[in-house]
């Protein structure tokens, strides 16, 4: 950890101005930034503490939309009765993320900025090559320990998995991230590595996430987040699925369906192929399982993560069938 200067921003404007400084990084809950500073990945020259800005932690939920302030704590949002009622997948994704201690500190805005858990990314002293940290230096993960690495959205530059849960649910329900001057679909806010693995988010110097907005929908109301992992708690997903379902009045034909995957892709991964295959179909286990396989189109494994290709469709299918049973 090297020395940095510390600024406390009292307003969004002040935060934006400071965030435009070279080498500046925002501090909210600190659960990602301090961790990455300790392992030598984050080396900010200026840390801008935005955690004291008033009015950025509100959670405002109606049937039409949820507006969640960037500084709202993960545990606070997860426990919000209206979020639980109108956006159960969002609440469930938050509850299954990290640990109780981390959820009490971490903010939802900061959560969107969470970096990958790729062990090579996190250990610059031992693995200097990492295109995310040092563009053009190469990828240490390819050919290494890849059990947790992505099978979707990968490139020759990077196979690091996007680790989060919340954003998977947000992507499923067309949520937007409010950057002040701009609003972006969360799905577009996250960038697959391509040849520019260092660019993980569509965010510009001087931009600050102020809120997340999630449109209400019947599918969001009937939704779930299923996270599969070896350890019951405090582990990143081997594969996870955020699924929302709206059925016709017959109680079995799919009117609307949303599916997104976590733990298997380089960004929160919406799988429209599965949605398209099931829209208008009657829910049936064989059909759901077959459609879920479409999620793996284009999947590429690197040996130890091969199991994810078999696992992820099963997670999707289980989540859809579970929602179908609650008809």
């Amino acid at each position: 950890m090297r020395d940095f200067s510390y600024l406390r921003a009292d307003s969004i404007e002040a935060a934006r101005n400071a965030a435009a400084l070279p080498g500046a990084m925002l501090l909210a809950g600190g659960t990602t930034l301090i961790d990455l500073a300790k392992c030598g990945v984050a080396e900010p020259s200026t840390v801008i503490d935005i955690s004291h800005i008033e009015g950025l932690n509100a959670v405002d939920v109606t049937a039409d939309r949820a507006v969640i302030g960037a500084l709202a704590r993960m545990s606070h949002v997860a426990d919000n009765p209206q979020v639980r009622n109108l956006f159960p997948a969002v609440s469930e994704a938050l509850w299954q993320a990290a640990s109780a201690q981390l959820r009490n500190m971490a903010t939802v805005g900061g959560n969107l900025m969470q970096r990958t858990r790729c062990p090579y990314f996190r250990d610059p002293a031992n693995f200097p090559a990492c295109n995310k940290r040092a563009p053009g230096s190469g990828c240490s993960a390819i050919g290494g320990v890849t059990r947790g690495h992505a099978v979707l959205g990968v490139s020759e530059a990077c196979i690091a998995t996007y680790p989060g849960d919340l954003a998977v649910a947000l992507v499923a329900f067309d949520a937007e991230v409010d950057l002040g001057e701009r609003k972006l679909k969360v799905e577009d806010f996250f960038l697959a590595p391509g040849a520019t693995a260092e660019q993980e988010h569509d965010i510009r110097p001087g931009e600050v996430i102020t809120a997340i907005e999630i449109p209400g929908s019947a599918a969001a109301r009937r939704s779930t987040y299923l996270k599969v992992r070896d350890r019951q708690s405090y582990e990143f997903a081997a594969a996870s699925a955020a699924v929302g379902l709206e059925l016709e009045s017959d109680g079995r034909t799919v009117r609307d369906i949303r599916v997104a995957l976590g733990g298997v892709a380089t960004k929160p991964w919406r799988v429209r192929a599965v949605e398209d295959a099931l829209r208008g179909k009657a829910l049936d286990e064989a059909i759901v399982r077959e459609a879920s396989e479409l999620a793996m189109e284009g999947a590429v494994d690197h040996g130890a993560n091969h199991y994810k290709i078999a696992l992820a469709p099963r997670v999707i299918a289980r989540a859809i069938l579970k929602l179908g049973e609650t008809a």
């Binding site: 950890m1 599969v228 405090y234």
Partner: protein, 764 residues
Amino acid sequence: MTVHDMKHAASDSARLEAVGGRLSRVDGPAKITGAAKYALEQQLEGLTHAVLVGATIAAGKVSAIDSRAAETAPGVLAVLTPDTIMELKGASDWLGNPSPQPTYNPLAREVTYSGQHIAAVVAETFEQAVAAAALVKVWYDETPAIVDLSDGKAGDGIPIDAMTKEWGDAEAAFAAAPVRICAAYNTPREFQAAMEPHGLIARWEGDALTIWEPSQWLDGMARTYAEWFGVPFENVRLVSPYIGGGFGSKALALAHSAVAAAAAKMLGRPVKLVLNRPQNFTSYGGRAATRQTVAIGADRDGRIQSIVHRGVNETAVDGMWVEPLGSVTSIMYATPNFSSKQNVVRVNTVVPGAKRAPGENPSAFGIECAIDELAHELGIDPLEMRLINYAEQDPHAKKAWSTRQLREAFAAGAEAFGWAKRSPQPRSMRDGRQLIGWGMAAGTYPVRRAHGEAVVKLLADGSVVVESSSIDMGQGTYTILAQTAAETLGVPVENVSVKLGDSHFARAGVTGGSRLAGVMTGAVYKAAGQALDELIGLALSDPRSPFQKLQANTLQVRDGRIASSRGEGPELSIAEFMAAVGREQIEAKGDTLPASTTAEERYANYTTIAKSIPHTEGDWSRHSWCAHFVEVRVDEDFGTVRVSRVVSALDSGRLYNPKLAESQWKGGIIMGIGQALLEEGIVDRRHGRIVNGNFADYMLPTNADIPDIQTISVGIPDPHSSALGGKGVGELAIVGIAPAIANAVFHATGKRVRDLPITLEKLI
């Protein structure tokens, strides 16, 4: 040191404070409130901070180090490299064998594993030391590394003849047996993963060295420091009042310890050095990775005719660790023919070390899975299989068991678990998509014995102080020694304060191998008995004593009050009596050694393990025993395994405090669940480096992974094992949990996973 508050809740035991009572941990309130001061929390005037620089290659030479940038960084006091650190003398090993090298350099020029310490930066603040350590530039001449047992360059290794155990003609009998199974079982590199990191504070005052360091063995580590620096043993004081988990890892002074102590000497200032979390995975050894093959030949009625066992464990290029893989294999079942042999293979790792039940733990994984495979092959219930082959005596030592309540453990565990309702066929029990499996396994751990000393002081105010250089790493030494002293002296336990963790106290050997409770309750029992004898002798003979005129042969002390056994004459509290006879204190030192023991033998007894008493000494073979019954739920789509029920019946002999023994058993079972399902040090094969050296990626069970655990004590006092009849507790319960879970997973899924951990990709 803290005098603990004796706060204990209502209990089902009438005499909470007596040996065998369920007294809550006396150090509990201090730990919960943060009042307990751990070694590394010591605040010292002028303290400096050292941070280590680790090798980024697994094998080769350090060709150059450029430390100029670090030396001129803010706050930096010194940069130590292999060339600039002071020369230390070679120290003898834990058996007392002298070092083959006359000198010792804790910073390596020749790198034999990734993460090995090659430099250290000392600065005024921790942050300055961290920043400067990142500026140290190192160049290497790298050579190819042998990364693990499966490396093509690893070879078959070195045969360890001392591990060979053979009787009958095992190979021929196996070949002739009508039913045979043979399979290979692997366990990965595992780590102790204690919450409290390794580290120390070292301070020199002239030739006297004080070390504050979490320690499972003050006397042994003090000896190492004394030898490194060529000072008398008495000049080294080690202080370790509490230990935040050791599990075998904190018994030795290690390279980082030497660096800190040397830096303190060179700078003339106290130095604090704490390993960061990744360094805790590379600076000392965890459990060695192991490979075993177990072949069992049996009759059709399930009677074993032969066991052929071969084992391999990894060790370091420049250090030897033998994980005794035939230890359970050779004693658990009766067999007329037996052969066990073991090799070790050198790989580029830090030398492996002790982790809870070294040897017995992986050994049981092999034999207890193999027995389950044999039972399945024969269509015999796994519990019945174990009873058919019950060993009525130690099959290897050919001696009677001192006590072996294993049959009772099988019966009590099976009854409480409902084992009789098990459907024998794999995949025959389910709940929706959850496949349910019931598995079982047995476990054992030898009774390791040694000697210890204790001082018991009766003070003028009637309070009692017990002192020992033994330690409490959570297992309950503070508590059971208070109970032992209270019961022996006849005083309320609230009046007893136990002081541990200072090498200037009465001596003790290593806290490892589940020996401490048996050793130290014996020593305190003796010391307290001597103090009581002196008290009563004084009361009967001192002219100032109100009891003198009674002309009694003896007196009794109950609830801290002295009275005649016949109920006549005066009754005084100990404080009143001490005032009456004008005594400040009565002090007695007790030990468990024969009176003829020389000073040299005593030193060897406390500072090496060479004087440990074999568990098969004399006429008896002494072991703890257990039987685990486990239910798992395996998701048939996802391959995830959750343990939903554990019932374990255990024979640790007499329990000094059942509440604390149950906690230790449960701790072992929880650790075993982690071993079975989660734990694995994952090595990048190109770099020979552990890549999951942190608590997010090295998986340990969370509360959510642990079901209710029922433990049942089936032990009886074992007079051959310890002074008060107890056998080992701490390591027993982790032995057999992993095979019980693997057997349950087979029962659930029909899939036999022989490589730990049983992660989801092995089942989908």
